[in-house]
């Protein structure tokens, strides 16, 4: 806990705020990419403390928010099969697909279990040889290595009753889309620290150069976020644009090579639909041919593209709109009856605004 509380120290935070205020000479628009960062910003009320010139846009880094409705529908159809024991991370359970959520499917009789790791799902597969265990492999570069290692283990142990429904997303291609879509306003990015701990910084350096955009690899505690903002503002004020690391206690330049190797052994990049945003080229992962025997997605057909949703999650996650600018925010769309995914997960920007604003 000490390692966390020191980054929540009010004196340190006060100093960082003063340094930011001293450096800002004009308004700047920054985006924090990760839902964990958004959660922290809103939970700690950081926006109230920042100088008026700093505007924060909230990015697409909420893994359950970007998982397409059609993939959740596939998950539910798998979970409803009597022989299937369907495993998912906790906060995916509440997110509705085009109709229902996994939690509703569970209430209607499907065997849906909350797990903390794909390795828990592997253990269930070993303990229940007469059941088909399907793991819902969602998330960014942070969760993909665990999925990869589970699949390598399943292959080595020839576990025939384990499979995964994959919806893994890659952050850099999405940032390129955001930089293009939001080029008129977006001036700097706080990149997701935990993702970079896996991937390293190389792709972010390339993005910074290509879009002339300052990018600061940023952590999740209030002091981490302020440090990221400070370094971003310093680049902007001095007219520079490069990728730098403000989360060096966790992120190494080259990332985690073991995790990278596991992911590239099991997966290859593929085009991926992001809920509310659409298909982004080469922004997802699919199983390589030698792992396709574990692909639960092949056992169900993906539905036709989801009908137009009332939720404007795409515009929100691209930073084009804030939650309060949605006509349904807090009225028809509330955590107890969400119109879209960002109102569901605690990392979803609308849920964070609703809960903490």
């Amino acid at each position: 806990m000490k390692h966390l509380t020191e980054y929540r120290d009010s004196q340190l935070i006060g100093q960082l705020l003063k340094m930011i205020a001293a450096r800002v000479s004009q308004p700047w628009v920054l985006m924090e990419v990760c839902g964990g960062q958004t959660h922290s910003i809103v939970k700690y009320g950081l926006e109230q403390l920042l100088p008026a010139g700093i505007e924060l846009l909230h990015g697409p880094g909420c893994p359950v928010c970007v998982t397409p409705a059609s993939t959740i529908d596939q998950a539910i159809s798998l979970a409803r099969r009597p022989q299937v024991l369907f495993c998912s991370y906790g906060d995916m359970l509440r997110v509705p697909g085009s109709g229902h959520s996994l939690l509703e499917a569970k209430a209607a009789g499907a065997d849906v279990r909350m797990v903390y790791s794909p390795l828990d799902a592997l253990a269930l597969a070993r303990d229940n040889p007469d059941r088909q265990i399907v793991f819902f492999a969602i998330g960014f570069e942070t969760t993909a290595p665990a999925t990869a290692i589970a699949l390598q283990t399943a292959r080595a142990q020839q576990l025939a009753n384990f499979s995964v429904l994959v919806a893994h997303f890659l952050v850099p291609p999405a940032l390129a889309s955001i930089a293009t879509a939001n080029s008129s306003r977006l001036q700097g990015l706080l990149a997701p620290g935990h993702v970079c701990a896996v991937t390293g910084m190389a792709e972010y350096q390339a993005l910074a150069a290509r879009y002339h955009l300052p990018i600061v690899i940023t952590g999740f505690e209030p002091a981490d976020i302020l440090q990221g903002i400070l370094q971003c503002v310093e680049q902007l004020e001095s007219g520079q644009a490069y990728a730098c690391n403000a989360y060096s206690r966790v992120v190494r330049d080259a990332g985690n090579s073991l995790a990278q190797e596991a992911v590239s052994t099991v997966f290859q990049t593929a085009d991926q639909e992001w809920r509310g945003i659409g298909i982004i080229e080469r922004s997802g992962l699919q199983l390589r041919a030698e792992y396709q025997q574990f692909d639960a997605g092949l056992a169900t057909t993906s539905n036709a593209p989801a009908a137009q949703e009332e939720c404007i999650s795409g515009a929100i996650m691209l930073g084009l709109k804030k939650p309060q600018q949605c006509p349904h925010f807090g009225t028809r769309c509330r955590p107890e009856h969400p119109l879209g995914a960002p109102m569901v997960s605690s990392e979803g920007v609308c849920a964070a605004y609703f809960q903490y604003h």
């Binding site: 806990m1 006060g14 403390l49 906060d91 359970l93 107890e336 605690s346 990392e347 809960q355 604003h357």
Partner: protein
């Protein structure tokens, strides 16, 4: 010559297992009677229960009573720091105390699932008896039912309780006044996280244990003292945040609390960080908040700190006439609105 199979006479009637609850234990016949005579009566023994009548006949002085009920469905039945039996007594006792009443009588309904080990039932009834003894209540009436295997979760317990109001003052949300100090009796979140860890098979470096406890000692002391005590609330489901939001709404006043004053143990804080949970929303079973007039807050604190269960009591905030709901002053100097808990807390993915 091959061995001849041994010739055995045996009775064709299936032998019934005696070490688990069967449907027959709930049918009102001999098995029910055995259960009552062997397990329930000896442990809960008191003159009213021993009468074995359809209702208990109670004598209470005066008319000022408090009456409450609660059902307990916790899984697992036994967890670090307590079990469903202890919880079923303490929970109802605490609800009576929160209304300014001293608990006197409880009822106890056991809804058992076929196959529940009798040893487990015995352990839980023992635990209820000990908790009743500790808190000075008598379990004077009850019921047992059995549901088919697969239609229950081992054991559900309902307890209802009657308490004697020992003060003329209305201890209730409506009595909260602007200026009241809000005292929190202990560190929060231990029960919720301990249950989740046990249920999900999570282990943490620091052991987690439920705070499950009776609040009789500290609350009796507050009620007996000549202080302006306005409201009490135990912080069960929904945790501290939900309790504050509800009380702000019911009283129509503003509540402001300081994050830095709210005690959270390292074990709970660390577990919450790992799982992405907010301790303000975790359930507790042994802590409460008290709303006390400012002039009496120090006396209340001194009284509370004399009891082990509330030894770390401290003032976490105060009430204003702003009608602005419940607000948290964060540790870094900002402010945020508290909201009710939405659905069950689920761990975040990253």
């Amino acid at each position: 010559m091959p061995d001849q199979p041994e010739f055995n006479l045996h009775c064709p009637l299936p032998s019934s297992p005696t070490d688990v609850i069967q449907l027959g234990h709930g049918d009102g016949g001999q098995l029910t009677q055995n259960l009552l005579q062997q397990i329930i009566y000896p442990r809960f023994a008191n003159p009213e229960l021993d009468r074995a009548h359809d209702s208990a006949l109670l004598q209470l002085p005066g008319n000022a009573l408090a009456f409450t009920t609660d059902s307990y469905v916790v899984n697992p039945l036994v967890f670090p720091g307590g079990d469903i039996g202890k919880l079923a007594v303490y929970g109802t006792v605490n609800d009576l105390l929160m209304a300014g009443a001293l608990p006197r009588y409880l009822s106890c309904s056991l809804i058992m699932e076929e196959g529940l080990p009798i040893a487990t039932l015995t352990q839980i009834v023992d635990s209820m008896a000990a908790a009743a003894h500790e808190t000075g209540v008598q379990i004077v009436t009850g019921d047992t039912k059995v549901v088919d295997k697969g239609h229950g979760d081992g054991l559900y317990i309902n307890t209802a309780g009657i308490g004697e109001r020992c003060t003329d003052r209305l201890i209730a949300p409506q009595s909260i006044c602007a200026g009241d100090q809000i005292i929190l009796s202990a560190d929060i979140g231990r029960h919720g996280l301990a249950i989740m860890a046990q249920r999900e098979g999570l282990s943490f470096e620091a052991p987690l244990s439920s705070d499950c406890a009776a609040l009789t000692g500290p609350v009796s002391a507050l009620l007996a003292a000549d202080i302006e005590l306005h409201c009490l609330r135990d912080l069960t489901r929904g945790g501290l945040a939900t309790a504050l939001v509800e009380l702000a709404e019911t009283s129509g006043l503003g509540i402001s609390v300081e994050q830095n004053s709210i005690a959270i143990s390292d074990a709970v804080g660390g577990g919450c960080e790992l799982l992405g949970m907010d301790p303000l929303y975790l359930a507790n079973e042994g802590c409460f908040i008290a709303f006390v007039a400012k002039a009496d807050a120090e006396i209340a604190l001194q009284l509370l700190r004399q009891h082990a269960v509330s030894a770390s009591s401290c003032i976490i905030g105060e009430v204003s006439d702003s009608n602005s709901g419940a607000r948290l002053q964060t540790s870094i100097g900002s402010e945020r609105q508290l909201r009710r808990m939405m659905g069950q807390p689920l761990p975040r993915i990253c």
